[in-house]
Protein backbone atom coordinates (compact mmCIF):
# COMPACT_ATOMS: atom_id res chain seq x y z
CA UNK A 1 0.00 0.00 0.00
CA UNK A 2 2.95 2.31 0.67
CA UNK A 3 4.05 1.64 -2.86
CA UNK A 4 0.76 2.73 -4.32
CA UNK A 5 0.83 5.88 -2.26
CA UNK A 6 4.39 6.46 -3.38
CA UNK A 7 3.48 5.87 -7.01
CA UNK A 8 0.57 8.29 -6.90
CA UNK A 9 2.72 10.92 -5.21
CA UNK A 10 5.48 10.56 -7.77
CA UNK A 11 3.11 10.55 -10.71
CA UNK A 12 1.13 13.57 -9.60
CA UNK A 13 4.17 15.58 -8.60
CA UNK A 14 5.96 14.46 -11.74
CA UNK A 15 3.03 15.52 -13.86
CA UNK A 16 3.22 19.04 -12.48
CA UNK A 17 7.01 19.11 -12.80
CA UNK A 18 6.89 17.82 -16.36
CA UNK A 19 4.46 20.53 -17.44
CA UNK A 20 6.61 23.17 -15.78
CA UNK A 21 9.72 21.92 -17.51
CA UNK A 22 8.02 21.68 -20.88
CA UNK A 23 6.89 25.29 -20.69
CA UNK A 24 10.46 26.37 -20.19
CA UNK A 25 12.09 24.14 -22.78
CA UNK A 26 9.80 25.07 -25.59
CA UNK A 27 11.24 28.58 -25.58
CA UNK A 28 14.77 27.44 -24.92
CA UNK A 29 14.75 24.79 -27.60
CA UNK A 30 13.85 27.15 -30.38
CA UNK A 31 15.50 30.33 -29.27
CA UNK A 32 18.35 29.12 -27.08
CA UNK A 33 17.05 31.61 -24.53
CA UNK A 34 16.47 30.94 -20.87
CA UNK A 35 13.31 32.70 -19.78
CA UNK A 36 13.88 33.81 -16.20
CA UNK A 37 10.48 35.43 -16.19
CA UNK A 38 8.82 32.02 -16.65
CA UNK A 39 7.96 31.76 -12.97
CA UNK A 40 6.11 35.04 -13.26
CA UNK A 41 3.79 33.55 -15.89
CA UNK A 42 2.62 31.28 -13.09
CA UNK A 43 2.35 34.25 -10.75
CA UNK A 44 0.24 36.14 -13.27
CA UNK A 45 -2.28 33.31 -13.48
CA UNK A 46 -2.49 33.19 -9.71
CA UNK A 47 -3.09 36.91 -9.33
CA UNK A 48 -5.66 36.87 -12.13
CA UNK A 49 -7.61 34.25 -10.20
CA UNK A 50 -7.41 36.44 -7.10
CA UNK A 51 -8.54 39.53 -8.99
CA UNK A 52 -11.53 37.84 -10.67
CA UNK A 53 -12.54 35.89 -7.60
CA UNK A 54 -15.22 38.38 -6.66
CA UNK A 55 -16.92 38.27 -10.03
CA UNK A 56 -19.20 35.34 -9.34
CA UNK A 57 -18.23 33.57 -12.54
CA UNK A 58 -18.00 29.79 -12.55
CA UNK A 59 -14.56 28.51 -11.65
CA UNK A 60 -13.77 27.13 -15.07
CA UNK A 61 -14.38 30.52 -16.65
CA UNK A 62 -12.11 32.19 -14.12
CA UNK A 63 -9.50 29.52 -14.76
CA UNK A 64 -9.73 30.14 -18.49
CA UNK A 65 -9.15 33.87 -17.87
CA UNK A 66 -6.13 33.07 -15.76
CA UNK A 67 -4.62 30.84 -18.42
CA UNK A 68 -5.34 33.48 -21.04
CA UNK A 69 -3.51 36.08 -18.98
CA UNK A 70 -0.51 33.77 -18.74
CA UNK A 71 -0.48 33.43 -22.50
CA UNK A 72 -0.62 37.21 -22.84
CA UNK A 73 2.16 37.61 -20.29
CA UNK A 74 4.24 35.08 -22.19
CA UNK A 75 3.89 36.98 -25.42
CA UNK A 76 4.62 40.22 -23.56
CA UNK A 77 7.84 38.69 -22.26
CA UNK A 78 8.88 38.17 -25.85
CA UNK A 79 8.29 41.78 -26.77
CA UNK A 80 9.81 43.31 -23.67
CA UNK A 81 12.67 41.04 -22.76
CA UNK A 82 13.65 39.17 -25.91
CA UNK A 83 12.99 41.02 -29.14
CA UNK A 84 14.90 44.17 -28.21
CA UNK A 85 18.03 42.17 -27.44
CA UNK A 86 17.55 39.35 -29.91
CA UNK A 87 20.86 39.79 -31.67
CA UNK A 88 22.97 40.78 -28.74
CA UNK A 89 25.05 38.55 -26.48
CA UNK A 90 23.56 35.56 -24.70
CA UNK A 91 24.30 37.21 -21.36
CA UNK A 92 22.29 40.25 -22.36
CA UNK A 93 19.26 38.13 -23.05
CA UNK A 94 19.54 36.18 -19.81
CA UNK A 95 19.71 39.35 -17.83
CA UNK A 96 16.83 41.11 -19.55
CA UNK A 97 14.54 38.23 -18.69
CA UNK A 98 15.87 38.25 -15.12
CA UNK A 99 15.25 41.99 -14.96
CA UNK A 100 11.75 41.51 -16.39
CA UNK A 101 11.11 38.88 -13.76
CA UNK A 102 12.12 41.34 -11.03
CA UNK A 103 9.97 43.97 -12.69
CA UNK A 104 6.86 41.78 -12.67
CA UNK A 105 7.37 40.65 -9.11
CA UNK A 106 7.85 44.18 -7.89
CA UNK A 107 4.85 45.32 -9.89
CA UNK A 108 2.75 42.75 -8.06
CA UNK A 109 4.32 43.89 -4.80
CA UNK A 110 3.59 47.50 -5.54
CA UNK A 111 0.20 47.36 -7.18
CA UNK A 112 -1.43 44.45 -5.39
CA UNK A 113 0.18 43.50 -2.12
CA UNK A 114 3.27 41.90 -0.59
CA UNK A 115 1.01 39.75 1.56
CA UNK A 116 -0.47 36.45 0.43
CA UNK A 117 -3.79 36.72 -1.35
CA UNK A 118 -6.37 33.93 -1.54
CA UNK A 119 -7.05 32.11 -4.77
CA UNK A 120 -10.43 30.51 -5.39
CA UNK A 121 -10.28 26.75 -5.82
CA UNK A 122 -12.90 24.45 -7.27
CA UNK A 123 -14.73 22.41 -4.73
CA UNK A 124 -13.43 19.20 -6.25
CA UNK A 125 -9.85 20.02 -5.21
CA UNK A 126 -10.61 19.58 -1.57
CA UNK A 127 -12.28 16.21 -1.96
CA UNK A 128 -10.39 13.04 -1.33
CA UNK A 129 -10.59 9.83 -3.25
CA UNK A 130 -9.87 6.26 -2.28
CA UNK A 131 -7.98 3.99 -4.67
CA UNK A 132 -6.82 0.52 -3.79
CA UNK A 133 -6.92 1.32 -0.10
CA UNK A 134 -4.99 4.57 -0.47
CA UNK A 135 -6.62 7.89 0.33
CA UNK A 136 -5.39 10.77 -1.76
CA UNK A 137 -6.63 14.26 -2.65
CA UNK A 138 -8.65 14.28 -5.85
CA UNK A 139 -6.36 17.06 -6.95
CA UNK A 140 -3.51 14.60 -7.41
CA UNK A 141 -5.48 12.47 -9.81
CA UNK A 142 -6.72 15.52 -11.65
CA UNK A 143 -3.12 16.69 -12.04
CA UNK A 144 -2.13 13.39 -13.58
CA UNK A 145 -5.12 13.45 -15.92
CA UNK A 146 -4.50 17.04 -16.99
CA UNK A 147 -0.84 16.30 -17.64
CA UNK A 148 -1.67 13.27 -19.74
CA UNK A 149 -4.09 15.34 -21.81
CA UNK A 150 -1.72 18.28 -22.21
CA UNK A 151 1.27 16.14 -23.05
CA UNK A 152 -0.81 14.25 -25.55
CA UNK A 153 -2.05 17.46 -27.15
CA UNK A 154 1.43 18.87 -27.22
CA UNK A 155 2.86 15.76 -28.76
CA UNK A 156 0.17 15.79 -31.41
CA UNK A 157 0.86 19.45 -32.11
CA UNK A 158 4.57 18.84 -32.58
CA UNK A 159 4.20 15.78 -34.77
CA UNK A 160 1.08 16.15 -36.81
CA UNK A 161 0.61 19.85 -37.49
CA UNK A 162 2.57 22.01 -39.86
CA UNK A 163 3.14 24.54 -37.08
CA UNK A 164 4.67 21.85 -34.88
CA UNK A 165 6.93 20.58 -37.63
CA UNK A 166 7.95 24.14 -38.39
CA UNK A 167 8.76 24.74 -34.72
CA UNK A 168 10.87 21.61 -34.54
CA UNK A 169 12.66 22.65 -37.71
CA UNK A 170 13.27 26.13 -36.33
CA UNK A 171 14.84 24.55 -33.27
CA UNK A 172 17.62 23.03 -35.38
CA UNK A 173 18.09 25.60 -38.11
CA UNK A 174 16.19 28.78 -37.60
CA UNK A 175 17.42 30.58 -40.70
CA UNK A 176 16.85 27.60 -42.98
CA UNK A 177 13.28 27.36 -41.75
CA UNK A 178 12.84 31.00 -42.64
CA UNK A 179 14.21 30.30 -46.11
CA UNK A 180 11.40 27.83 -46.55
CA UNK A 181 8.98 30.59 -45.76
CA UNK A 182 8.39 29.87 -42.08
CA UNK A 183 7.73 33.27 -40.50
CA UNK A 184 10.20 33.79 -37.68
CA UNK A 185 7.87 35.96 -35.66
CA UNK A 186 5.04 33.47 -35.78
CA UNK A 187 7.26 30.69 -34.51
CA UNK A 188 8.61 32.76 -31.69
CA UNK A 189 5.23 34.08 -30.61
CA UNK A 190 3.80 30.57 -30.77
CA UNK A 191 6.57 29.27 -28.56
CA UNK A 192 5.92 31.95 -25.97
CA UNK A 193 2.18 31.48 -26.19
CA UNK A 194 2.47 27.73 -25.63
CA UNK A 195 4.87 28.41 -22.79
CA UNK A 196 2.28 30.72 -21.26
CA UNK A 197 -0.47 28.16 -21.76
CA UNK A 198 1.47 25.46 -19.97
CA UNK A 199 2.44 27.87 -17.20
CA UNK A 200 -1.17 28.90 -16.76
CA UNK A 201 -2.44 25.34 -16.49
CA UNK A 202 0.33 24.31 -14.12
CA UNK A 203 -0.34 27.38 -12.04
CA UNK A 204 -3.90 26.30 -11.31
CA UNK A 205 -2.76 22.86 -10.25
CA UNK A 206 0.24 24.08 -8.29
CA UNK A 207 -1.46 26.92 -6.44
CA UNK A 208 -4.26 24.47 -5.78
CA UNK A 209 -2.02 22.88 -3.20
CA UNK A 210 -1.65 26.05 -1.12
CA UNK A 211 -4.58 28.24 -2.01
CA UNK A 212 -2.76 31.57 -1.84
CA UNK A 213 -0.55 33.61 -4.13
CA UNK A 214 2.44 35.83 -3.29
CA UNK A 215 4.75 37.80 -5.62
CA UNK A 216 7.50 35.24 -5.22
CA UNK A 217 5.35 32.23 -5.99
CA UNK A 218 7.00 31.62 -9.32
CA UNK A 219 10.43 30.95 -7.87
CA UNK A 220 9.92 27.34 -6.88
CA UNK A 221 8.34 26.25 -10.20
CA UNK A 222 11.06 28.13 -12.06
CA UNK A 223 13.71 26.26 -10.15
CA UNK A 224 11.96 22.96 -10.74
CA UNK A 225 11.72 23.68 -14.44
CA UNK A 226 15.40 24.63 -14.50
CA UNK A 227 16.61 21.49 -12.78
CA UNK A 228 14.31 19.18 -14.70
CA UNK A 229 15.47 20.71 -17.97
CA UNK A 230 19.15 20.47 -17.11
CA UNK A 231 19.02 16.82 -16.10
CA UNK A 232 16.74 15.93 -18.97
CA UNK A 233 18.89 17.57 -21.61
CA UNK A 234 18.65 21.25 -22.33
CA UNK A 235 16.88 21.26 -25.64
CA UNK A 236 15.00 18.04 -25.74
CA UNK A 237 11.26 18.17 -25.21
CA UNK A 238 11.09 14.53 -24.18
CA UNK A 239 14.07 15.17 -21.93
CA UNK A 240 12.23 17.93 -20.11
CA UNK A 241 9.30 15.62 -19.39
CA UNK A 242 11.60 12.82 -18.31
CA UNK A 243 13.59 15.25 -16.17
CA UNK A 244 10.41 16.40 -14.49
CA UNK A 245 9.39 12.89 -13.51
CA UNK A 246 12.91 12.00 -12.42
CA UNK A 247 13.08 15.08 -10.22
CA UNK A 248 9.71 14.21 -8.73
CA UNK A 249 11.01 10.73 -8.05
CA UNK A 250 14.04 12.11 -6.25
CA UNK A 251 12.03 14.62 -4.24
CA UNK A 252 9.38 12.11 -3.22
CA UNK A 253 11.95 9.47 -2.33
CA UNK A 254 13.77 11.93 -0.15
CA UNK A 255 10.48 12.92 1.47
CA UNK A 256 9.85 9.31 2.35
CA UNK A 257 13.35 8.38 3.47
CA UNK A 258 15.00 11.37 5.12
CA UNK A 259 14.92 11.44 8.91
CA UNK A 260 12.83 14.20 10.44
CA UNK A 261 15.68 16.59 11.29
CA UNK A 262 17.13 16.42 7.81
CA UNK A 263 13.85 16.84 5.98
CA UNK A 264 14.18 20.63 5.82
CA UNK A 265 17.44 20.20 3.94
CA UNK A 266 15.69 18.16 1.29
CA UNK A 267 16.41 20.67 -1.45
CA UNK A 268 20.12 20.55 -0.68
CA UNK A 269 20.06 16.75 -0.99
CA UNK A 270 18.12 16.93 -4.23
CA UNK A 271 20.64 19.36 -5.59
CA UNK A 272 23.54 17.12 -4.59
CA UNK A 273 21.97 14.20 -6.42
CA UNK A 274 21.42 16.40 -9.44
CA UNK A 275 25.09 17.38 -9.33
CA UNK A 276 25.99 13.70 -9.34
CA UNK A 277 23.80 13.11 -12.36
CA UNK A 278 25.47 16.02 -14.10
CA UNK A 279 28.91 14.72 -13.25
CA UNK A 280 27.99 11.54 -15.02
CA UNK A 281 26.13 13.14 -17.95
CA UNK A 282 26.85 16.87 -18.38
CA UNK A 283 24.67 17.14 -21.47
CA UNK A 284 21.68 15.69 -19.69
CA UNK A 285 19.93 12.40 -20.19
CA UNK A 286 18.53 12.95 -23.66
CA UNK A 287 20.28 14.79 -26.44
CA UNK A 288 18.34 17.57 -28.04
CA UNK A 289 17.97 18.38 -31.73
CA UNK A 290 21.35 18.10 -33.42
CA UNK A 291 22.66 21.38 -34.64
CA UNK A 292 26.40 21.37 -34.07
CA UNK A 293 26.26 24.73 -32.37
CA UNK A 294 27.26 25.45 -28.83
CA UNK A 295 24.16 25.43 -26.72
Amino acid sequence: MRWLQFAIDVLSLGSAYALMALGLVIVYGILRLVNFAYGELIMVAGYTMYLVSGSGLPWLVMAACAVLMSVVAGIATDYVAFRPVRNKTITAVLITSFAFSTLLQNAALLFISPRPRPVPLPEIFSRTVEIGGVVTPARNLITIAVAVVMLGLFSWLMRATVLGIAMRAAASHFTMARMLGVPANLIISSAFAISGLLAGVVSLLWIGRIGTVVPGIGLEPLLIAFIATVIGGMRSLQGAVLGGFLLALIDTSLNYTLPQELLKFRDAFTFSLVILILLWRPEGLIKGPASGRRT
Binding site: T89, I90, L94, I95, T96, A99, T102, M234, K264, F271
Partner: protein, 338 residues
Protein backbone atom coordinates in the same frame (compact mmCIF):
# COMPACT_ATOMS: atom_id res chain seq x y z
CA UNK B 1 51.42 46.01 -18.29
CA UNK B 2 51.88 49.72 -17.85
CA UNK B 3 48.32 50.30 -18.93
CA UNK B 4 47.03 47.86 -16.33
CA UNK B 5 49.06 49.64 -13.70
CA UNK B 6 47.51 52.87 -14.86
CA UNK B 7 44.06 51.33 -14.48
CA UNK B 8 44.93 50.15 -10.99
CA UNK B 9 46.22 53.53 -9.97
CA UNK B 10 43.32 55.48 -11.43
CA UNK B 11 40.59 53.29 -9.98
CA UNK B 12 42.43 52.91 -6.70
CA UNK B 13 42.73 56.66 -6.45
CA UNK B 14 39.02 56.95 -7.14
CA UNK B 15 38.22 54.64 -4.25
CA UNK B 16 40.63 56.45 -1.98
CA UNK B 17 39.11 59.78 -2.96
CA UNK B 18 35.67 58.43 -2.13
CA UNK B 19 36.82 57.22 1.26
CA UNK B 20 38.66 60.39 2.17
CA UNK B 21 35.88 62.60 0.87
CA UNK B 22 33.15 60.78 2.77
CA UNK B 23 35.12 60.78 6.00
CA UNK B 24 35.96 64.44 5.58
CA UNK B 25 32.31 65.49 5.36
CA UNK B 26 31.71 63.92 8.73
CA UNK B 27 28.14 63.08 7.73
CA UNK B 28 27.23 59.61 9.02
CA UNK B 29 24.99 58.96 6.05
CA UNK B 30 27.78 59.55 3.54
CA UNK B 31 30.14 57.41 5.53
CA UNK B 32 27.57 54.62 5.53
CA UNK B 33 27.03 54.89 1.80
CA UNK B 34 30.78 54.91 1.18
CA UNK B 35 31.33 51.77 3.25
CA UNK B 36 28.45 50.04 1.49
CA UNK B 37 29.90 51.08 -1.85
CA UNK B 38 33.31 49.68 -0.93
CA UNK B 39 31.78 46.39 0.12
CA UNK B 40 29.77 46.31 -3.09
CA UNK B 41 33.02 46.88 -4.96
CA UNK B 42 34.55 43.82 -3.34
CA UNK B 43 31.52 41.76 -4.33
CA UNK B 44 31.21 43.05 -7.87
CA UNK B 45 34.92 42.68 -8.53
CA UNK B 46 34.66 39.13 -7.30
CA UNK B 47 31.83 38.44 -9.69
CA UNK B 48 33.76 40.09 -12.49
CA UNK B 49 36.65 37.67 -11.97
CA UNK B 50 34.38 34.81 -12.91
CA UNK B 51 31.90 36.36 -15.31
CA UNK B 52 34.28 38.68 -17.08
CA UNK B 53 36.81 35.97 -17.87
CA UNK B 54 34.66 32.94 -18.46
CA UNK B 55 31.77 34.75 -20.08
CA UNK B 56 29.30 32.76 -18.03
CA UNK B 57 26.70 34.28 -15.77
CA UNK B 58 26.73 33.08 -12.18
CA UNK B 59 23.80 33.59 -9.87
CA UNK B 60 25.41 31.88 -6.92
CA UNK B 61 27.80 34.67 -5.95
CA UNK B 62 25.73 36.20 -3.18
CA UNK B 63 25.25 32.76 -1.67
CA UNK B 64 28.98 32.63 -1.06
CA UNK B 65 28.81 36.09 0.45
CA UNK B 66 26.47 34.53 2.97
CA UNK B 67 28.86 31.68 3.64
CA UNK B 68 31.58 34.21 4.41
CA UNK B 69 29.35 36.30 6.64
CA UNK B 70 28.11 33.37 8.70
CA UNK B 71 31.58 31.84 9.00
CA UNK B 72 32.98 35.08 10.32
CA UNK B 73 30.00 35.45 12.65
CA UNK B 74 30.45 32.04 14.21
CA UNK B 75 34.14 32.66 14.74
CA UNK B 76 33.96 36.18 16.09
CA UNK B 77 30.82 36.65 18.13
CA UNK B 78 31.99 37.17 21.73
CA UNK B 79 31.67 34.02 23.80
CA UNK B 80 29.15 35.46 26.21
CA UNK B 81 26.86 36.55 23.39
CA UNK B 82 27.09 33.23 21.65
CA UNK B 83 25.04 31.63 24.33
CA UNK B 84 22.14 33.90 23.45
CA UNK B 85 22.68 34.34 19.74
CA UNK B 86 23.40 30.73 18.85
CA UNK B 87 22.16 28.57 21.69
CA UNK B 88 22.53 25.32 19.80
CA UNK B 89 26.00 25.92 18.46
CA UNK B 90 28.35 22.95 18.43
CA UNK B 91 30.50 22.85 21.56
CA UNK B 92 33.83 23.00 19.77
CA UNK B 93 32.84 26.31 18.22
CA UNK B 94 31.25 28.03 21.17
CA UNK B 95 34.53 28.79 22.82
CA UNK B 96 36.15 30.23 19.70
CA UNK B 97 36.52 33.96 19.45
CA UNK B 98 38.84 35.37 16.83
CA UNK B 99 39.61 38.91 15.89
CA UNK B 100 37.22 40.19 13.23
CA UNK B 101 40.07 40.55 10.74
CA UNK B 102 40.84 36.85 11.02
CA UNK B 103 37.15 36.14 10.89
CA UNK B 104 36.74 37.99 7.63
CA UNK B 105 39.69 36.17 6.14
CA UNK B 106 38.36 32.86 7.38
CA UNK B 107 35.02 33.71 5.80
CA UNK B 108 36.71 34.15 2.47
CA UNK B 109 38.64 30.91 2.80
CA UNK B 110 35.63 28.85 3.82
CA UNK B 111 33.59 30.27 0.94
CA UNK B 112 36.41 29.41 -1.44
CA UNK B 113 36.63 25.91 0.02
CA UNK B 114 32.91 25.28 -0.38
CA UNK B 115 33.07 26.57 -3.94
CA UNK B 116 36.07 24.40 -4.69
CA UNK B 117 34.28 21.32 -3.40
CA UNK B 118 30.94 21.85 -5.08
CA UNK B 119 31.18 23.66 -8.38
CA UNK B 120 33.42 21.58 -10.57
CA UNK B 121 30.52 19.65 -12.17
CA UNK B 122 28.89 22.94 -13.06
CA UNK B 123 31.98 24.05 -14.93
CA UNK B 124 31.58 21.24 -17.42
CA UNK B 125 28.06 22.21 -18.41
CA UNK B 126 27.08 24.16 -21.45
CA UNK B 127 26.68 27.89 -20.88
CA UNK B 128 22.94 27.98 -20.35
CA UNK B 129 22.84 24.86 -18.18
CA UNK B 130 25.66 26.30 -16.09
CA UNK B 131 23.76 29.49 -15.50
CA UNK B 132 20.58 27.90 -14.38
CA UNK B 133 22.40 25.42 -12.19
CA UNK B 134 24.21 28.31 -10.52
CA UNK B 135 20.78 29.76 -9.81
CA UNK B 136 19.78 26.50 -8.16
CA UNK B 137 22.98 26.63 -6.13
CA UNK B 138 22.01 30.06 -4.80
CA UNK B 139 18.67 28.67 -3.68
CA UNK B 140 20.30 25.68 -2.04
CA UNK B 141 22.83 27.83 -0.17
CA UNK B 142 19.95 29.97 1.02
CA UNK B 143 18.05 26.87 2.03
CA UNK B 144 20.98 25.58 4.07
CA UNK B 145 21.52 28.93 5.73
CA UNK B 146 17.85 29.14 6.62
CA UNK B 147 17.69 25.67 8.09
CA UNK B 148 21.02 25.05 9.76
CA UNK B 149 19.83 26.76 12.88
CA UNK B 150 22.60 25.65 15.14
CA UNK B 151 25.11 27.61 13.10
CA UNK B 152 23.04 30.39 11.58
CA UNK B 153 20.15 30.85 13.95
CA UNK B 154 17.92 29.67 11.15
CA UNK B 155 15.63 32.16 9.43
CA UNK B 156 15.87 34.47 12.41
CA UNK B 157 18.27 37.37 12.69
CA UNK B 158 21.74 36.55 13.92
CA UNK B 159 23.15 39.33 16.04
CA UNK B 160 26.27 40.09 18.00
CA UNK B 161 29.00 40.55 15.43
CA UNK B 162 31.60 43.07 16.57
CA UNK B 163 31.46 46.23 14.51
CA UNK B 164 34.89 46.28 12.93
CA UNK B 165 34.40 47.48 9.40
CA UNK B 166 35.59 51.03 9.21
CA UNK B 167 35.75 53.08 6.06
CA UNK B 168 39.56 52.80 5.78
CA UNK B 169 39.34 49.01 6.13
CA UNK B 170 36.59 48.67 3.55
CA UNK B 171 38.39 50.93 1.12
CA UNK B 172 41.66 49.06 1.58
CA UNK B 173 40.01 45.71 0.93
CA UNK B 174 38.26 47.17 -2.11
CA UNK B 175 41.58 48.30 -3.56
CA UNK B 176 43.05 44.88 -2.80
CA UNK B 177 40.14 43.24 -4.61
CA UNK B 178 40.76 45.57 -7.52
CA UNK B 179 44.38 44.42 -7.69
CA UNK B 180 43.31 40.76 -7.54
CA UNK B 181 40.79 41.20 -10.34
CA UNK B 182 43.30 42.92 -12.60
CA UNK B 183 46.01 40.40 -11.80
CA UNK B 184 43.71 37.49 -12.51
CA UNK B 185 42.60 38.97 -15.80
CA UNK B 186 46.16 39.14 -17.04
CA UNK B 187 47.30 35.88 -15.52
CA UNK B 188 47.76 32.78 -17.65
CA UNK B 189 44.47 31.37 -16.40
CA UNK B 190 42.63 34.56 -17.16
CA UNK B 191 44.10 34.91 -20.63
CA UNK B 192 43.42 31.31 -21.56
CA UNK B 193 39.87 31.56 -20.28
CA UNK B 194 39.15 34.62 -22.31
CA UNK B 195 40.73 33.06 -25.36
CA UNK B 196 38.61 29.97 -24.97
CA UNK B 197 35.47 32.06 -25.20
CA UNK B 198 36.26 32.98 -28.75
CA UNK B 199 37.60 29.69 -29.96
CA UNK B 200 37.43 26.62 -27.74
CA UNK B 201 39.41 24.39 -30.04
CA UNK B 202 42.31 26.76 -30.50
CA UNK B 203 42.49 27.39 -26.78
CA UNK B 204 42.50 23.66 -26.09
CA UNK B 205 45.42 23.36 -28.47
CA UNK B 206 47.26 25.82 -26.25
CA UNK B 207 46.71 23.54 -23.32
CA UNK B 208 43.58 25.05 -21.90
CA UNK B 209 41.40 22.67 -19.93
CA UNK B 210 38.34 24.78 -19.80
CA UNK B 211 36.43 23.31 -16.84
CA UNK B 212 39.54 23.53 -14.71
CA UNK B 213 40.17 27.12 -15.71
CA UNK B 214 36.60 28.07 -14.99
CA UNK B 215 36.82 26.32 -11.66
CA UNK B 216 39.86 28.36 -10.68
CA UNK B 217 38.13 31.58 -11.62
CA UNK B 218 35.06 30.58 -9.64
CA UNK B 219 37.08 29.75 -6.53
CA UNK B 220 38.87 33.12 -6.61
CA UNK B 221 35.52 34.76 -7.15
CA UNK B 222 34.06 32.94 -4.15
CA UNK B 223 37.03 33.96 -2.02
CA UNK B 224 36.29 37.61 -2.73
CA UNK B 225 32.58 37.05 -2.16
CA UNK B 226 33.29 35.48 1.23
CA UNK B 227 35.56 38.33 2.25
CA UNK B 228 32.92 40.78 1.13
CA UNK B 229 30.39 38.90 3.22
CA UNK B 230 32.61 39.04 6.27
CA UNK B 231 33.21 42.75 5.79
CA UNK B 232 29.51 43.36 5.48
CA UNK B 233 28.71 41.27 8.52
CA UNK B 234 31.06 43.29 10.67
CA UNK B 235 29.54 46.48 9.35
CA UNK B 236 25.92 45.72 9.87
CA UNK B 237 26.47 43.47 12.95
CA UNK B 238 23.24 41.52 12.49
CA UNK B 239 21.60 39.81 9.55
CA UNK B 240 19.43 36.94 8.42
CA UNK B 241 19.64 34.53 5.46
CA UNK B 242 17.32 36.71 3.39
CA UNK B 243 20.13 39.22 3.08
CA UNK B 244 21.86 36.82 0.72
CA UNK B 245 19.20 36.10 -1.82
CA UNK B 246 17.49 37.38 -4.92
CA UNK B 247 17.32 41.10 -4.28
CA UNK B 248 21.04 41.37 -3.55
CA UNK B 249 21.83 39.12 -6.50
CA UNK B 250 19.83 41.41 -8.70
CA UNK B 251 21.68 44.49 -7.45
CA UNK B 252 25.12 43.01 -7.90
CA UNK B 253 24.23 41.83 -11.38
CA UNK B 254 22.86 45.25 -12.20
CA UNK B 255 26.14 46.81 -11.17
CA UNK B 256 28.21 44.47 -13.26
CA UNK B 257 25.97 44.52 -16.29
CA UNK B 258 25.52 48.26 -16.41
CA UNK B 259 29.22 48.87 -15.86
CA UNK B 260 30.35 46.18 -18.28
CA UNK B 261 31.12 42.58 -17.25
CA UNK B 262 34.18 42.25 -19.44
CA UNK B 263 36.29 44.89 -17.76
CA UNK B 264 37.40 45.59 -14.24
CA UNK B 265 36.77 49.28 -14.89
CA UNK B 266 33.24 48.33 -15.80
CA UNK B 267 32.75 46.56 -12.47
CA UNK B 268 33.94 49.62 -10.58
CA UNK B 269 31.95 52.06 -12.68
CA UNK B 270 28.83 49.96 -12.34
CA UNK B 271 29.14 49.81 -8.57
CA UNK B 272 29.41 53.58 -8.36
CA UNK B 273 26.55 54.27 -10.76
CA UNK B 274 24.09 51.78 -9.33
CA UNK B 275 24.85 52.69 -5.71
CA UNK B 276 24.19 56.31 -6.54
CA UNK B 277 20.96 55.44 -8.34
CA UNK B 278 19.85 53.07 -5.60
CA UNK B 279 20.45 55.53 -2.78
CA UNK B 280 18.80 58.27 -4.79
CA UNK B 281 15.73 56.18 -5.56
CA UNK B 282 15.47 54.99 -1.98
CA UNK B 283 15.49 58.58 -0.83
CA UNK B 284 12.72 59.38 -3.30
CA UNK B 285 10.70 56.39 -2.16
CA UNK B 286 11.16 57.45 1.45
CA UNK B 287 10.09 60.99 0.68
CA UNK B 288 6.98 59.78 -1.14
CA UNK B 289 6.03 57.60 1.78
CA UNK B 290 6.62 60.32 4.36
CA UNK B 291 4.62 62.81 2.36
CA UNK B 292 1.83 60.29 2.23
CA UNK B 293 1.20 60.94 -1.45
CA UNK B 294 -0.26 57.50 -1.98
CA UNK B 295 -2.71 55.80 0.31
CA UNK B 296 -0.37 52.90 0.94
CA UNK B 297 3.35 52.62 1.39
CA UNK B 298 5.29 52.54 -1.84
CA UNK B 299 7.50 49.49 -1.94
CA UNK B 300 9.56 48.03 -4.71
CA UNK B 301 9.79 51.20 -6.74
CA UNK B 302 13.58 51.18 -6.54
CA UNK B 303 13.94 47.66 -7.86
CA UNK B 304 11.38 48.27 -10.57
CA UNK B 305 13.24 51.33 -11.81
CA UNK B 306 16.56 49.52 -11.75
CA UNK B 307 15.05 46.64 -13.68
CA UNK B 308 13.85 48.98 -16.38
CA UNK B 309 17.24 50.68 -16.41
CA UNK B 310 19.00 47.37 -16.85
CA UNK B 311 16.83 46.41 -19.79
CA UNK B 312 17.45 49.79 -21.40
CA UNK B 313 21.19 49.52 -20.95
CA UNK B 314 21.21 46.08 -22.46
CA UNK B 315 19.21 47.22 -25.45
CA UNK B 316 21.17 50.37 -26.11
CA UNK B 317 24.65 49.49 -24.95
CA UNK B 318 24.81 45.74 -24.40
CA UNK B 319 28.44 45.69 -23.39
CA UNK B 320 27.85 48.13 -20.55
CA UNK B 321 29.63 51.41 -19.90
CA UNK B 322 33.09 49.92 -20.44
CA UNK B 323 32.54 47.04 -22.85
CA UNK B 324 36.05 46.08 -23.85
CA UNK B 325 38.83 48.34 -22.73
CA UNK B 326 40.04 49.21 -19.27
CA UNK B 327 40.39 52.85 -18.38
CA UNK B 328 44.16 52.59 -18.59
CA UNK B 329 43.73 51.48 -22.20
CA UNK B 330 41.39 54.35 -22.94
CA UNK B 331 43.81 56.93 -21.68
CA UNK B 332 46.92 55.35 -23.12
CA UNK B 333 45.80 53.62 -26.30
CA UNK B 334 48.17 51.17 -27.94
CA UNK B 335 50.16 52.75 -30.73
CA UNK B 336 49.21 51.40 -34.15
CA UNK B 337 51.94 49.36 -35.80
CA UNK B 338 53.28 51.03 -38.89
Amino acid sequence: MARNLATLVILGALIAALAIGAEATGVRLFERIAITLCISLVLVLGLQVFMGNSGILSFAHIGFMGVGAYTSAVLTIPAQMKGMALPDLYPFLSGVQLSPYLGILAGGLVAAAVAAAVVYPLMRLSDAASVITSFALLVVLHNVMTNWSSVTNGPRTLFGLPKATTLPLAAAVAVAALAVALAFKESRTGLLLRASRDDEIAAAALGAHIPRLRWRAFVVSALLAGIGGGLWGHFITSFSPNAFYLKETFLILAMLVIGGPNTVTGAVAGAFVVTAAYEGLRAVEGAINRAGIFREQVVGLTELTLAVAMILVLVLRPGGLFPTREIGHHLFPARRAR
